[in-house]
Subunit: 482 residues, 2 copies
């Protein structure tokens, strides 16, 4: 049941607002296990929609799903030096099983490169076996000290893709192909505009050659890394002896990529579109795209209205609109509106006796504006159009907001001023020195989100580092981030 | 790539045959982690088809998906006495996280009653919140000493449903509703006939009031428990204080059910339908229902044949037939036949230059029989009919086989003779004494698979226990089992 207390507004306290809208929409809840959340049906339904869309996109690229063990021998992690350094502090360790102490402790996967490439070594013999393109949907665990619903939890759900290729060019091409998929998903499904670009060395995945990312800007003007894709080079191939006979007859190491997005995307959705009344789900990802609320006073009205509502429900479902009829008795229409608003359902249809007589319904949009009467004839098509418009408007609104909170050609002074204010994405020159990057992070809490892809770069390439004034080697985008 | 060595036959060694067909079809592989398997893409694709079918059926009953933590505080298990007794020997324990020893060890879920009902206690207040119907698709871990691909592995994938109801009648009704779903899935999708019935007290789920099951009979005449559904009574409600205010204003404990099927079903599929050439996938669960193998000698033929094959591929896909075109060069048609046979694809279309000229294809069925020419016009519909026939024939063949290996009205002597022979399902009277049941198990390795539902009972109720001759309280079905 919806909690009827007024929500904290975004302006008052964005972080409190975030937790409250999630709890009120019943997307998730805190569990008795430290750092672990429960994903409730309303939240899981969004994740299911996300999974389906992404899974179809992966399969179009020839990727196949598989499943690898949850537990990984601890020794596997040590085989790739950077990898163990990166993940060691976050590991959960199983020391006992079946009532006995284990000979070798097992690690709960924080990510699966090690176990997967140990299997690839067995399956790959020839260049004919390549590329090998696999993905798994699973849970992973990273011991986190500070957790946040969906954004950072010890256990989370994700997909992790792992591929092997004959050469660096093909691995690089594939890693970038996936980056495009992630961007397309973020924009077309989540209505969340993202920057794409490369991570700096200090921000890249432990064990990767290069990491690419999509970065969104949340309504509090903090950045959120929403997905990453890595060209792993031959690091894991060498650690796990993943070799193949080339078409020239030579024995070569494969080139790998890995890539993932997680339930963090549900948090990104909330922080991109939510308002002070609750979450807003873009139509393409909504469990229910439309909810029908019947309005009646007498028993006679109830019969008439419910009959009409059931008919509308059937027609909308046939027309491909995911629709729910809220028939609950003993709950007033206003309370229902409030609840469905909080849950972010894009469209609400109100059906009363007069509407039935007039062959119409009243349409209320979650994104606001006046209610409009719509004829019941041809309703499914009309709602499809409404949803297309809303989906596009949500993306556009988020893009405008992001651009309003982006600044280009920064100097140290303007950057600091920008961060003092609302903050957002700050574009400027960077000397390429990791020490300079670290100083900036320490003094401002802002990090380089990415070295942006060409499309996002400023028309004029920056000449000097915005912080230290040495010559710039590239443009970078800074922001405070989740 | 398919291993071209001849397979062990079922008659030679059923168990070796089982492992070999799985490895050859690349359904799964052994992992470097003790007792854990890797589910390879061909095996996972079957599981995905199973998931989709079951998930739709659950949702039709109003069940919603959710996700609960992998890790459960060890103390939770002790709250329900039978539950901890049943699961303690199989638990894997996490003692360290984030580089530190944990204050309280965490258990990797072997099943999730404890964590889920601890959350239900928070979410359920009133009878209006009931029934609460949730399911999760996840991995679980039970430390097993003897493991077997798909059938018994330390980690496995499953769904576990958990519901809460106002009274015993509603919980019982729901547990049995799910039993019907499981049976329908087994018969209509897996083409696997199953007995339904209740487990004896010694075989029921640790913490349940009553456990119901579906039981299949594999080709080696061993039984396989393929799914269970439990009426948990108020055991967990009392352990976790899951209470609600009734419509009379009194405070009551809820009644729970839980139910699950797992990746074990993939093993059941293999052992129900496979033959000496490999696995046979029933059409409704096949990743590829049809594979097209082009046949050509010259380059000119290759162009003509591939063009026709691509057109057929498009038309079949449009016609709803999940089809794959095997365009691999450098692999002879015969090698392709061999590989797709091993993988169990129901239908194979051979397309050569003469077929193209004649506007036809040659159809080969995985279940045998002569190849038949089919006109390319109207092919999708013709294949749909072929698949319906094959799906029904697989079920019927399995049913006939099961009945041929069932014996009714057993005495101790005929039972022992039956087990000496091929074995199978043995129906007879049982005194209801757990000690007698235990003796039978010890002496014969056969267990009571279920106390069969009315539909499966013998026309005449047995009067005495087939083993001890005391009066029978019920009919039971014995078998040696996986």
């Amino acid at each position: 049941m919806a909690d009827q207390k007024a929500l904290t507004t975004r302006a008052q306290d964005f972080s409190a607002w975030y937790n409250e809208v999630i709890m009120r929409a019943e997307l998730a809840d805190y569990s008795p296990v430290r750092g672990c959340m429960v994903i409730r049906p309303n939240g899981y339904a969004i994740w299911e929609q996300m999974q389906r869309a992404l899974d179809d996109m992966f399969k179009e690229l020839g990727v196949q799903n598989a499943y690898f063990p949850l537990l990984i021998p601890q020794s596997f992690f040590s085989k790739e030096a950077q990898h163990i350094d990166g993940f060691a502090p976050e590991l959960a360790i199983v020391t006992h099983g079946g009532g006995k102490e284990l000979e070798e402790p097992l690690v709960i996967r924080p990510t699966s490169e090690t176990i997967i490439y140990s299997m690839y070594a067995k399956w790959i013999q020839s260049y004919r076996d390549l590329p090998m393109l696999m993905n798994q949907w699973c849970n992973v665990l990273r011991w986190e000290m500070r957790t946040r619903l969906f954004l950072r939890t010890a256990e989370f759900l994700w997909q992790e893709g792992h591929t092997a290729h004959v050469d660096e060019a093909d691995a690089e091409r594939f890693a970038l192909e996936i980056l495009k998929v992630y961007r397309r998903f973020a924009e077309e499904w989540m209505a969340m505009p993202v920057l794409t670009g490369r991570k700096t060395d200090s921000e890249r995945f432990a064990g990767a050659l290069r990491t690419y990312c999509i970065e969104g800007l949340m309504q509090d003007n903090k950045a959120l890394q929403a997905g990453t894709t890595h060209n792993l080079g031959q690091n894991f191939a060498k650690a796990f002896q993943v070799t193949f006979q080339s078409d020239q007859g030579t024995l070569e190491y494969v080139w790998n990529t890995s890539w993932g997005v997680s339930t963090r995307l549900v948090g990104a959705l909330v922080m991109t579109h939510g308002d002070d009344a609750g979450i807003i789900t873009p139509p393409r990802l909504a469990q229910y795209q439309c909810v029908i609320v019947p309005i009646y006073k007498s028993d006679a009205e109830r019969v008439t209205v419910l009959e009409a509502a059931e008919r509308i429900l059937r027609e909308l479902r046939q027309g491909g609109v995911r629709t729910h009829l809220d028939k609950r008795d003993g709950l007033k229409p206003g309370a229902k509106y409030y609840e469905w608003e909080g849950r972010g359902v894009p469209l609400r249809l109100e059906v009363g006796p007069r509407d039935v007589a007039a062959g119409q319904v009243m349409l209320a949009r979650r994104t606001g504006g006046a209610k409009s009467p719509l004829p019941t004839a041809g309703l499914a098509r009309a709602l499809q159009t409404e949803m297309d418009v809303m989906q596009a408007a949500l993306l556009e609104a988020a893009r405008v907001r992001r651009e309003q909170h982006s600044i280009r050609g920064i100097t140290k002074a303007s950057f600091l001023e920008f961060l003092e204010g609302d903050g957002g994405f700050a574009y400027g020159g960077w000397c390429g020195d990791a020490a300079c990057e670290a100083t900036i992070k320490e003094e401002t809490k802002a990090t380089i989100r990415c070295l942006p892809d060409e499309e996002f770069r400023s028309p004029e390439a920056p000449r000097s580092c915005m912080w230290c004034d040495r010559p710039a080697v590239t443009e970078a985008v800074w922001a405070r981030a989740y």
